[in-house]
Amino acid sequence: MLQTLLPILIFAALAVGAAGAVRRIRLWRQGRRTPMRWHRLVLMPKRYLNDLHHVVARDKAIAHTHVATAGGFVAAMALALVVHGFGWHNPILGGLLLAASLCMFIGALAVNRRRIDPPAKLSKGPWQRLSKSLLAYSVGMFLVSLPLVGVAPTLLGGGVLALILLALVAWGLAEMLIGMGWGGPMKHAFAGSFHLAFHRRPERFDDQHRDVAHDVHRGSRSTALFPLDLTAKTLGVEKPADFQWEQLLGFDACVQCGRCQSVCPAYAAGQPLNPKKLIQDMVVGMAGGSDARYAGSGYPGIEVGKHHGGPSDAIVPQLVEAQTLWACTTCRACVEECPMMIEHVDAIVDMRRFITLERGETPEKGAAAIDNLIATDNPGGLDNASRLDWAADLDIPRIQQRPEGVDVLLWLGDGAFDMRNQRTLRALVKILRAGGVDFAVLGDEERDSGDVARRLGDEATFQRLAERNIATLSRYRFQRIVTADPHSFHVLGREYGAFGGDYVVKHHSTFIAELFDAGRLSVKAAEPGETVTYHDPCYLGRYNGEFAAPRQVLAALGVEVAEMERSGYRSRCCGGGGGAALSDVPGKARIPDMRMEDVRETGATTVAVACPQCTAMLEGVVEPRPQVKDLAELVAAALVEPSAAPTARTSTEAPEEVPA
């Protein structure tokens, strides 16, 4: 009886599953089409076994569980197809099938143990059922395959037991094969494989990086936002079908593991954003329906089950509230953690683009910042000629006076208008002088890099600023750009390339570390007893992979660095990126307060920062708290400059270089 029913079961499940898969592919293909690159399918196994596994392996227990379960299933399924499906009753194959089922069974046990009291980040519902289905499949497959190796052949002759076993196998096949095609939890394997093959950012799987020493998470540096075609019919993403089809495919690959949720600063602060729920909402929008069947944590403060969507229905506000999108700080912690390599930030910015460019509904202060950027080239609406007011006594050379070119163009960023950051800039100038660096500034010809405009969705203003800055930079000669602002660093270095601006851009931490390496700076020994911790800015670390240089600088100063639990690529955002400080979505806590709590846990008396935004956000935390110092300030305070002092004095004596 088994010999006749098993092949029917297997092939029926395969056929039904395949029908569902075709339907699923149609759902993905509702998105905007791009040229198909079929050859990328070949890349899938390597991307799965290498890149995806690297991310999963950050949690060793889960990685082992997944290898046992998934590996066991794939092997058991392939063997079952040969042995039971096509009826090749080979004892060796049977033995392998038993081994694979056993391996899967052990994995499934670990899955079930985790599911007894699942952590809050995991989704329940069908995902709880999946753990049981894995057991059913592995046990059923093991037992029905026992006769192949000659064990208990008579035992299975009995009708009732055979029926029970068949039911187990059928349950397993229904979950694993039919569920895979028809949107059950196993969908992640099917969609995930294609997602890895057709990922929108193939560079994420590229190991050929120039500077591996600085960056252990090589692939994650494909972080520049995609340029938007401003002549398109509608700008940005209004409805799920406006996404590129690879994006829809990516959303469908989500395993609802909740790693993004547990690292999201906005979620932790009780703001109405949960990256996992957002991706699931995109899936709801793509397939049509309501979010009532979602079995995980929702957006804080927003009830689950009240929203609905369809592929051609507007996303905001029926499916996702605008507040959810504006709460994102674009810190990329979710993207960095996602084992399925889903691009949450791209999706959020795509939807913000529609809200800003088509609906004109940017949050009030964000809209004011954009208006100012349009009118005055800086988000504060200040006179661009006052960009150098803080340096009136410093005699900083202007690049306009150096037609022969300079080594370093110092990009000030909009921090030049902020009194707190002006102290950092003054410290940086002192360091550059002490290191004998040939540098100059653009002065009032410098404009905002366009970072805030772009993250607020105003691609038109960003592109205008980018084009003007690139035109300005093309008029002057310099070897490299150095900036104390990681946002400018990222935009100039990674995002201007798409508009024809290719520069060597260095963050000041990298540049100061190079000065130390070259022996051009001498510092006095740090005072003993003071502990410093370092806060990695998102746009320096996760976006650009610079984790090492700031620590090298601190080491050169001889200070003891106590690392926070969340540092390096897992650093928690200060709450100031992506225009989140402007949209200021209310929550239960403030993100910088939570970050300062991280700092306090290390016992540090000073937190070293490397970004004007982080400085402003962390200094906004009420006293008493550890003091906030930029790396440049720490270095400048420790400088000993026996020879630099007289040169600085001579330069102040040259009055013709002071056009205000």
Partner: protein
């Protein structure tokens, strides 16, 4: 923001036009939406929705025009692209006859505009000259439109120190919107790109002969005398700093004949030296 009921009323009864000018940013001097004109457009959009029509007399290449058209979003119904009629004229031409001719031809009966342009002559006289030429009512300092029913429109006029006066005006009329009116909505790139600027060809601008005869000289910024408030009380200092100079020494005159009223005004203007002092020969002549 949008009130469908009201907009249907207004669309039925009134043809609403907003006159827009090129603004100058106070810091950078870059062209953009003018502060008050943008509020006039906002008021028009809240009243008439997408049926609001914009008009501008001047240069077709002005960077401010797309910014006004970018405000045509978030409107009920079809919410088609914004439309702006451009009356081409050079800087030295007179906008008044041009606008008056076009407004009559268009059949507008409710015109919204700012009180004063941010560049060019900026005398703030255009609404008055236009209303005079069209024979319409004019209301200035409009902070809000309350109702628009039939041929009557009720508006709130802004007075100093947050006071408001309710006015009922008969259509057709021209409303000059004050800076205290509700904030204009964001100008979005998509709608600004779709908005249509149509050049009106059947009007010809005439040079502004009066203006051509004027003598121009640069304005001189005059130092303001600081009023130092000597008070140890923060509340008093704040009040002194926040207070607008209240009108003092005025009189309210009622029940005067038009001749008497005119004479009172002339006397006042002479006393303020706005009009030249009385010539000896004119003394005793009846003034009209």
């Amino acid at each position: 923001m949008t009130q469908p009921e009201r907009s249907r009323n207004a669309a039925g009864e009134a043809r609403v036009v907003a006159l827009v000018s090129s603004g100058r940013h106070p810091v950078s001097g870059r062209a953009g939406r003018a502060r008050e004109d943008a509020r006039a457009v906002e008021m028009g959009l809240a009243l008439a929705g997408a049926s609001l029509h914009l008009a501008h007399a001047g240069d077709a290449e002005d960077a401010a025009l797309p910014e006004y058209l970018g405000m045509f979003h978030g409107l009920d119904g079809a919410g088609g692209p914004g439309e702006l009629s451009l009356l081409p004229m050079a800087a030295g031409d007179d906008a008044v006859p041009l606008l008056a001719t076009w407004l009559e031809a268009y059949g507008a009966n409710l015109v919204l505009t700012g009180q004063r342009a941010e560049c060019g002559e900026g005398s703030g006289l255009l609404p008055y000259l236009l209303a005079e030429r069209l024979g319409w009512a004019v209301a200035t300092g409009v902070a809000a439109i309350e109702h628009c029913e039939g041929d009557r429109i009720t508006v709130l006029q802004a007075l100093p120190q947050g006071q408001r006066r309710r006015l009922e005006v008969r259509l057709p009329c021209l409303l000059c919107v004050d800076g205290v009116a509700p904030m204009p909505r964001q100008s979005a790139f998509g709608p600004s790109r779709r908005g249509r600027v149509e050049a009106v060809t059947n009007v010809t601008a005439e040079p502004d002969t009066l203006q051509a005869a004027w003598q121009w000289q640069p304005a001189r910024a005059r130092p303001k005398r600081l009023k130092v408030v000597k008070s140890t009380n923060a509340r008093d200092r704040f009040k002194a700093a926040a207070a607008k100079s209240a009108a003092s020494g005025g009189q309210v005159l009622t029940d005067l004949s038009s001749d008497e009223a005119a004479q009172k005004l002339i006397d006042y203007l002479r006393a303020e030296k706005v009009l030249p002092a009385v010539q000896p020969g004119e003394e005793g002549q009846p003034s009209a």
